[in-house]
Symmetry: D2
Subunit: 354 residues, 4 copies
């Protein structure tokens, strides 16, 4: 059987590089082209040194892209939406890993991104590419959106509670994300300068972070279409780490639930999910989710603790922002779209210690 031909636009960034790495070892795929405006003509391994001796592929210029079966877009936010028709002309299936098509509502987009969407008619048709929530829609989709890395972590951690209808919508949902430096991309600048970034515990966007909009959209939808605009309180802090996110979410319940009941909700939600693991142990060093052992893997680990008196659950969720938070999740979505085993090309378990 011939392999599916996949091309990548924006292949010199971190998400692009991770996607190349995954697709080079994917048993059903062949990489057709990798485009990069700045790196055209250079070897792919000149931007991604881990691929030395593994691939002799070179970047092509974006203008030289030809037709393929699936096209991944790994462009900076705000770029793909302006050229989306051209890209959709190149492939019957487009997966855009930027933020451009994550929101279904043009109004929500305008509110959080600060400008009108240039292809707003496409927004309702795009699928939010999180297989755990939208597996069914993915099989028919022609335009799939990647998901925000911190949004993905938060949504996967909280979805079971929202879907179970046990969340008190009169009380705030407070989500604090801790995130590594690779989430800010491959471009150097003052905020990524090592002497300043090393050892940082740096609040950025304590209010108003765009990933809030994805929580409002996806968790609200799970909870019967509730409007969570007034209660989602999301803040993000950069920590010393290259890859990885840990989300700590405080959520309040609308009824008395003990630990056992919360266990049941999470177990039922995730026991058949190939990339979701419940991590909650009585002792040991790794008794809650820990992002560092997820580097390179597509797992999202979720744990929790309950404060029964306050009717409060603290959910911890962790993943690798370039894997389950970007490229790995994109490959998982691709596997869904093409009806393949969802784990194809995604079996690396992560390292320990690391």
């Amino acid at each position: 059987m011939s392999r599916v031909r996949v091309s990548i636009v924006g292949g010199s960034g971190y998400t692009g590089g991770e996607l190349i790495r995954l697709l080079l070892f994917h048993p059903m795929v062949e990489i057709s082209q990798v485009a990069s405006g700045s790196q055209a003509g250079h070897f792919v391994h000149s931007a991604h040194p881990n691929l030395r001796k593994i691939s002799t592929l070179r970047f092509c210029h974006p203008d030289d892209l030809t037709a393929c079966d699936v096209l991944f877009l790994c462009l900076p936010h705000g770029v793909s939406s302006g050229e989306i028709e051209r890209y959709r002309g190149l492939a019957p299936r487009v997966i855009d890993l930027s933020g451009d098509f994550r929101l279904r509502s043009p109004e929500l987009y305008q509110r959080w991104y600060g400008h009108q969407h240039p292809a707003s008619d496409l927004l309702p048709k795009a699928v939010y590419g999180l297989p755990e929530l939208h597996r069914g829609e993915l099989t028919e989709a022609t335009l799939v959106s990647g998901t925000g890395c911190m949004a993905t972590t938060s949504i996967l951690g909280l979805a079971p509670l929202y879907r179970a209808g046990v969340v008190n919508q009169a009380l705030p949902l407070v989500v604090e994300a801790k995130v590594g430096s690779s989430a800010a991309g491959a471009k150097a600048g003052p905020s990524s300068h090592h002497p300043d970034r090393s050892g940082a515990v740096r609040s950025f966007e304590p209010t108003g972070h765009r990933h809030s909009a994805e929580l409002i959209q996806e968790l609200g939808q799970l909870d019967g279409g509730a409007d969570l605009k007034q209660i989602v309180a999301f803040s993000a802090t950069a920590v010393e780490l290259v890859r990885g996110i840990l989300v700590t979410a405080h959520v309040f319940l609308n009824e008395d639930l003990e630990e056992k009941a919360i266990w049941r909700i999470f177990r039922e939600a995730y026991q058949r999910e190939p990339f979701m693991r419940l991590v909650k142990e009585r002792n040991g060093v790794y008794r809650y989710p820990e992002p560092k052992i997820l580097a390179g893997s597509n797992y999202c680990d979720v744990g929790f603790e309950v404060d029964v008196e306050q009717r409060r659950v603290v959910v911890m969720a962790a993943l690798d922002n370039l894997m389950k938070g970007a490229a790995g999740n994109g490959v998982q979505a691709l596997n869904c779209m093409l009806g393949w085993d969802e784990t194809l090309g995604l079996t690396f378990p992560g390292l320990h210690p690391v």
Copy 2:
């Protein structure tokens, strides 16, 4: 004028070492004795290598302590309260940096520490040694308690809002502390093993952390004696850092307040405080509090951001857990107790870059 004679019990730990370092350079103090059960007879610099060539002091055995003017206790939690009368017999002023005398109420102590306090009659007499809140009481105090490092950060970040009476007590106060590895002390063990601890973003005690009790006590008192038991939601996450804490707190207001009004509340609270700095800038890398540049300094930096629609303030506060969160704050309290300039021995500004 002769110097005040200060002794230290428990001098081989991190807080003890930091205290020795500070007092060696304090212009009004002479270190009388430093006791350590395990290190008796050894040079102080064998436990604290930064003090090589600076001091030839040796640890004495705790049984060999003699009378002095001020006695600092740097013992593990639960130890000093059992021997407090002996220590109070050695010096007219005792400053206990452990958790044993932080809470005024024996009931609150029992609830959070899980056992009855062995000297509960002393609890109401001890002073919570945070000069910014209890400066007046410190001048008369004979027993002063150190303050929990994460509690200190949280309380200093939030005190202005609670004192101003603008906090909505029907909504939760969610506080997420990020903390370095030195806060867990000098004793090695599996959770501090470098291959596992390095790069960690590790939730520990997502519910039920004892520092919660200090928030309940101190913030409640500032807010007219309110009972905050049901609303304080405190979680803590260990991050890759040796020294330092960043607290991110989401607090809800009982009225519409714009950024300017919040600015005024913080400015009035802290403009005359020598160790409180407001850090909130429009741009630059260090536009919010950042713990790493506080290593070795006694500052607590506080910043905030407002979500007007949600009537929510996100407060960020940072400090060095061994300085303003422990030994440095202890020296500041000592300065208060003896009527000295509060900044004596505490002028080191911190390093940049670091």
Copy 3:
């Protein structure tokens, strides 16, 4: 075809864990048993949290080991040699990853390990398990030794020059190894305590390191049996890193050789080696070997620079101490022993960024 049954003794340490991870995904192997004295009865993933949801294997007790096809020993140094006959009774092929069988000469062993070898008659029969040097011997071997992680890096970096006979044996060979914390094993202690180990650049064994003996043995053998005892100067420095080694070696030549000639020597030595990469670029950030992008991969990257006037070559070599420096190299040796493609189970390319 039925899979080869491989068992592991000492499976709860870092090398054991890495070996389990590799063998779980190896297409020709089935893990028969994993023994651990301290963890018997527990799930393998309780010691190796990256294996959660991947394997439900449990540790058995070492006394309960049964016969298998290949037995890996991952015991602390000095343990396996005392029981080697029992282990050799369990399997026709034994691969000992400890230091016990690395040296061929009982005298050399005694000199560097400070005591007589308990099974010294076996030393001449064991094979130093570095496929790049001893591929031929591995196919017949019944007892194979793992190789010291820093020795492996140094030997692979220098072997081409020694084999080419261009090294001046009257001048010292100075090798400085920089190494991450996982090389010191899974057991916590004062030297691995995070506040002390974090950010360390810590010399340990600046003289007298046992890995020197492996350099003396292997490089001397490559250079016509030269005795390098008087010229090998090896020092090791622990740096802030969990996995990885970078060796910087200064070696002096016995003739004038320009860069091009050195290139040729390295290229001819390694162009057909599946896990050796030459890394020497004119520009870019990764123009020399860099251990961090090798984490989890089995590559050893080698680069160099020449000082023609001094007839000096500086060789840089990097690898992951748990992979090409231990478990990965062990699997590669296994592949050799059984006549399989050497890369089976070892295709993970490493991550970037990381």
Copy 4:
């Protein structure tokens, strides 16, 4: 007594910032002006956030500099030498912390810096500003040069042996420096981008590093004017650390010397030096020099180990590249020049843990 008026040119970089911090707390100095081309008009604390609330000083434009008593130049390499006459016109004493005036010989400069020196007649008059080697000359000097951070570490580590005349000049001196990211300066770029620089163990300039020239000049001079050009082998490796250098040097002796004799050489050389400490202990974690506990301090710690059979000494030396390696050493030189106690303004002992 009125304070000495000191100005700084190039005050927005790391060395400039460190100098400002030190001089703000120096008891005999008042900062007159701090010039910065790029930051003129801004508060000094906008570039150096550790100085918030400590100084309200603003950067002036370099063109607006007025006369002062001492002028520090903290400009990039190659800049000050072109304008040195103007700067010398502003102050009777100039201390240039760049590389422009480190070498006494115009030929040596041209060889290592690749171009002719624009003010080569000044080279022989400038003093290499290392008080431990040139204390006497400093009191008369009008132009003093700062010293390369890695060169300083190496020279201070090796000077006692060279001065004692025990080094074999027919064998190579191999020096491997491990260095933190702040040594590369405050300017962001691809090589300092956190995802790439974090956890790096990165060889840069394995041959041909300019600091070699300082070793050749200073160590040769100590050893009776020997020409060390053919034997100095210096390599540098960037490691995960912001501040700090550890040098590991392998040096060969011209006679049999036991450890005790080496001890005596080092002790005699450094026992009266205020900033030199010998660190060599039998046990403990910090038994050799460790740069991290030197952050912010002006100490240079030196230790060693002897391989008697090889007549080899391994010297380890550590310091903070911005302190004893740059600004701190500059202040120490200033103290010498003005006949003050050398430790003025330099008493901070460093932190532990950190």
